[in-house]
Symmetry: C2
Subunit: 140 residues, 2 copies
């Protein structure tokens, strides 16, 4: 999994929280992330669908955070980008004539879900505000 969208999404949301009510353009944001504005718009489009941000066209437009930073958890962001962080099963279905092949997927699904849930519990404990505090505590 070399999918960096989750990290970029968190970065961008933290930047928006840092900026407060001011709208930031995708070009400006891309300057902080160090990538292309279209990449930023793609990711922010998903976050908009999740109700986390809004966009505004035209001069003076850009992107704004719709919730208070303490009301957005890292789990919220994960759900918004939906980068299926779980464990993928087999590429091709196992042999159903084999006792192990027949049942392994159902068994693993349960255990993977439990592990995933434990991870999500931790992500739910961290908010954008926590990240902001970390950023501001940074030495110049």
């Amino acid at each position: 999994m070399t999918n960096t969208r989750y990290t970029v999404a968190i970065h961008v949301l933290t930047l928006l929280a840092y900026a407060g009510p001011e709208a930031l353009t995708s070009e400006y944001i891309a300057g902080s992330v160090n990538t292309n504005p279209v990449v930023i718009r793609r990711i922010l489009a998903g976050l908009r669908e999740a109700g986390l941000v809004r966009s505004q066209g035209g001069p003076g437009g850009g992107w704004q955070l719709l919730r208070a930073p303490e009301a957005v958890s890292l789990l919220d962001v994960l759900r918004a980008v939906d980068t299926e962080a779980s464990f993928p099963l087999h590429a091709t279905p196992p042999n159903l004539a084999c006792p192990v092949g027949r049942s392994i997927q159902a068994i693993l699904t349960g255990h993977f879900h439990t592990a995933q849930a434990a991870m999500e519990r931790e992500l739910a404990r961290v908010s954008l505000r926590d990240l902001l505090e970390g950023v501001k505590a940074q030495p110049a």
Copy 2:
């Protein structure tokens, strides 16, 4: 991450545990997983480096589990295949001239590590023996 090696590794190890002391050939194992023998050998080569299995060439050869099923956890398997399950950071380094860009990676690394650790704690609680019991409890 559409990396199925972890799931296949667990499947194969469960199959070896199911077979007991008998050695299974990569071709036989591939029949259960429903893939190519070389794919199986590739994955098992990694598990051998981790000390989980051994291989034997020639007629009557094949693969055997080196530990008791209850002594192999899903976390052991994850470490063995080392499919960096964590969250990748930025594709290109963020802009260090931006306060958020400068500090976001270090901050996220800590939180990601905490979440990853919680997931691994759950994986450590499940052993191959648990999976075997699930397989054997399966209706014919």
